[in-house]
């Protein structure tokens, strides 16, 4: 075993990284100096060729990819391990959460889930004035962004209209921070129009929150509930996801003679290999790492039976266009009915194939399909089932083209709808789009408003001014800015086509 010390030296001497960021980069190097979990030759070859991919999670899984603790446990029982009494006041409850977050691992080294915050905090709000609640939440929000500066970190609120949710929306719009990312869970039977309108107004200010179709998600999970974390992954609460392995659908298409061969031979083959890759990583986590001996399990924050395996796919657009081209048809995924129908058929086939693969130590014994939002190195490949950058049709056609996919991806699928700045004067239009999307079967609604400093990249938020500063070789305070800068350079992400509708009729306006 030899370290490539030059690479380590580059990390240590990198002026753009803080000491903590260097320590984290060094730990990744150390983990990857170990041998990979045992893989059979076929799986190993597919991984080497990156037809399947482990998201570079590391060679020795010693914590699940995503952990979603039930923070209600520590708020109602305290913690023996952390020597925390049961909190009695709002201050104590927030303080308990702030301590708890530091003990929740994930693949990023920071928590990805800070809880269903209105449910958690409302019981402590009796007798707290609106002004006091606002001040306390503002400090809490600032703490999260400054101490856990990672845009994968996610807070959830809703579906009810309540003081905590409203105040969080107010604070979030005011501060315009990267962290926490935020999801409002919308349920037309429970949420009020007023709180949805407040959430939508926030989108036009800071491109947050993300809105989840609560009835659809609730039906996918069980009584212990779910949380939305990281890049819009829906996962079991009090559990999470052990790993995420994904298939590059374009690479599978390239290895197929035609569409029929793809659906009946190559796709099943690589689905099986991707499951084997995930299983090898899960076996290591459960059987060797000792993770599930932690107090998080013994105190009931998480349950080892509630960790799923996320089965990701990406480059659907390129795969469909490639398969259509093979049959002499210049397909335009997202624009042509035939191309879209093939995409839907592939999603349906994936669902059957994944359901046919039993797994060990996985929630409900099967992996959950996920439309994967991309890595910063995915040059020329479109995230998940999205429509390629710069070729998106108008937002309504866009939604209708993708809606049939949503039923197939229970652990998350997100499409970023890029809207031009004219919507800022008309948030009701965004509300219409959101409701239309949900009525069409969308699980999640995410919009980017052109001209906002805060934008979503593959699924997480970055600040455009941070990217500019980073490129000028100043250090970035937040971990995801480095990823975002890399993504902006490598992929056409910032070219997502904002459409100036008012001028659409002008000759050549959008070309």
């Amino acid at each position: 075993m030899t370290f490539e010390t030059q690479g380590l030296r580059r990390v240590v001497n990198n002026p753009a990284l803080s000491a903590a960021q260097k320590a984290r980069a060094l730990s990744i190097e150390a983990e990857n100096a170990m041998p990979y979990p045992q893989l059979d030759a076929e799986t190993h070859a597919a991984l080497e060729a990156r037809v399947i991919c482990d998201m570079y999670e590391g060679h020795a899984p010693y914590r699940p990819r995503y952990v979603l603790p039930d923070y209600g446990v520590v708020l109602t029982c305290g913690s023996d391990w952390l020597e925390l009494p049961v909190p009695q006041t709002l201050d104590e409850a927030i303080n308990t959460l702030m301590i708890a977050y530091h003990h929740v691992p994930s693949v990023t080294g920071m928590p990805v889930y800070v809880g269903q915050l209105d449910d958690l905090l409302l019981p402590f709000c009796e007798g707290v004035s609106d002004e006091a609640l606002y001040q306390k939440l503002k400090l809490f929000w600032r703490y999260i962004d400054r101490v856990l500066p990672d845009a994968f970190l996610h807070a959830n609120i809703g579906p009810s209209d309540n003081r905590v949710a409203r105040t969080i929306l107010r604070v979030d719009a005011e501060l315009g921070q990267i962290a926490p990312n935020l999801t409002f869970r919308y349920d037309p039977a429970i949420s009020t129009e007023a709180i949805l309108a407040q959430a939508i107004a926030n989108i036009t200010i800071c491109s947050k929150p993300h809105i989840a179709n609560h009835p659809l998600h609730a039906a996918t999970f069980d009584a212990r509930g779910y949380g939305i974390v990281s890049c819009y992954n829906a996962l079991p609460q009090a559990g999470g996801a052990s790993t995420l392995t994904r298939i590059n659908l374009l690479e599978v298409a390239k290895r197929s003679h035609d569409t029929d061969d793809f659906l009946t031979n190559t796709l099943p083959q690589y689905v099986a290999l991707n499951v084997r890759l995930a299983q090898a990583r899960i076996d290591y986590l459960f059987d060797q790492s000792g993770f599930f001996d932690s107090f998080l399990v013994t105190e009931g924050w998480i349950d080892r039976g509630r960790f799923t395996a996320m089965f990701g796919i990406f480059a659907m657009a390129e795969a469909v266009n490639h398969l259509l081209l093979k049959s002499g048809n210049p397909g335009r995924y997202g624009r042509d009915a035939e191309a879209n129908a093939l995409g839907h058929a592939i999603s349906a086939r994936l669902t059957d194939l994944v359901a046919a693969q039993p797994m060990r130590n996985v929630w409900r014994d099967r992996a959950m399909l996920h439309s994967q939002a991309g890595l910063s190195t995915d040059t020329g490949l479109t995230p998940g089932v999205r429509i390629p950058y710069g070729t998106e049709p108008d937002p309504v056609v866009h939604v209708l083209a993708l809606a049939p996919h949503h039923q197939y991806y229970p652990s998350g699928i997100s499409e970023i709808l890029t809207l031009d700045e004219t919507v800022k004067a008309n948030p009701a239009a965004v509300m219409d789009l959101c409701k239309g999307a949900f009525a069409s079967g969308f699980r999640e609604f995410t919009a980017n408003i052109g001209g906002n400093d805060l934008v979503r990249v593959t699924g997480y938020m970055i600040r455009l001014s941070d990217v500019a500063r980073f490129n000028a070789l100043k250090g970035a305070r937040t971990n995801t800015t480095a990823l975002g800068a890399e993504a902006a350079k490598l992929t056409a992400i910032l070219d997502r086509k904002p459409r100036v509708v008012a001028y659409e009729l002008a000759a050549g306006a959008d070309r």
């Binding site: 309504v396 800022k424 004067a425 008309n426 009701a428 239009a429 009729l505 306006a509």
Partner: protein, 288 residues
């Protein structure tokens, strides 16, 4: 039912600048003004089947069949080359639609919409179609709650408004200029009817928005702005006004040499209107 058809240049399923919420927008072909500053000059004329545009099309989407121009949408790549070739500012891609066609579109996209807006061109040139369409929307229980808006230059006469307003929820009315000579120079028509139309729509409680285009050194003179303020104030009560900024996108002819309206100049006018108690005053969200 023998309902009228309309010639429609373009249909949008997503628009946030043609009234409240997201609206389905119909751009009706044909206009009775000839504005030098028109951003969509190819919506002005009506096709006379001369065939001059056919050679301009690189994909043979245009042809003459039985003396009529035929457009094949399946072959069109939306390059817009044919628009520049038409000598009378018509649009070979405008297609006839029936009321039923539009109702089908509305049903399919109901969940995404706050309403429908007819624009153009000048939609009131096809008042029969618009009135029939709006009446049908009102009678359709599945389309309940959708609002019907008209975006007009106001040249329609009082009698025409009577029928149309009875089925319309809101009018967006463009006043191109207040000085009669200036208006004539800019549009080729008098503005007497436009001003009267604003009053008629307002009296019916349906003037949603007055629109005014800022063209530097022409419509932004102190005299013009003073008349805009007086006119809007005389309507009574706060009046929503949208200030548009002239820019060159799509413009042909003499106006291509005019100056674009700079943001600062438009903001100054907006401040004057607000100061006079008018509003809300909307300025462009995007500056070109």
């Amino acid at each position: 039912m023998n309902l009228p058809q309309a010639r429609i240049a373009k249909i949008l399923l997503w628009s946030c600048v043609d009234g409240p919420g997201n609206r389905l927008v119909l751009f009706l072909q044909g206009c009775n003004f000839a504005c030098a500053a028109c951003h969509n000059p190819h919506t002005i004329g009506q096709c006379n089947d001369c065939g001059d545009c056919i050679p301009a099309c690189p994909t043979a989407a245009l042809s003459l069949a039985g003396g009529r121009l035929h457009f094949d949408p399946a072959r069109c790549t939306q390059c817009d080359d044919c628009l520049a070739a038409c000598p009378i500012s018509a649009n070979p891609m405008a297609l006839p639609y029936s009321v039923a066609d539009i109702l089908t579109l509305l049903h399919r996209h109901r969940a995404f919409l706050s309403g429908i807006t007819v624009s153009g061109g000048e939609p009131t040139l096809q008042t029969g179609f618009v009135t029939a369409l709006f009446a049908a929307i009102r009678e359709d229980p599945d389309l309940a709650g959708l609002t019907c808006f008209v975006d007009s230059n106001g040249h329609l006469g009082a009698l025409g408004w009577q029928g149309l307003l009875s089925v319309t929820d809101g009018v967006m009315l463009d006043i191109k200029a207040f000085g009669p000579a200036l208006h004539l120079a800019m549009t080729g028509r008098s503005n007497a009817r436009s001003l009267a139309s604003a009053k008629i729509a307002h009296a019916a409680g349906k003037l949603y928005e007055l629109r005014y285009l800022i063209v530097p050194d022409q419509t932004d003179s102190p005299g013009e702005i003073a008349r805009l303020i007086r006119f809007a104030s005389d309507l009574g009560g706060p009046q929503r006004i949208r200030l548009n900024a002239f820019h060159h996108q799509g413009v042909r002819g003499v106006a291509a040499d005019w100056l674009s309206a700079p943001r600062q100049a438009v903001e100054v006018v907006a401040e004057q209107l607000r100061h006079a108690g008018l509003g809300p005053v909307i300025v462009p969200a995007v500056w070109l």
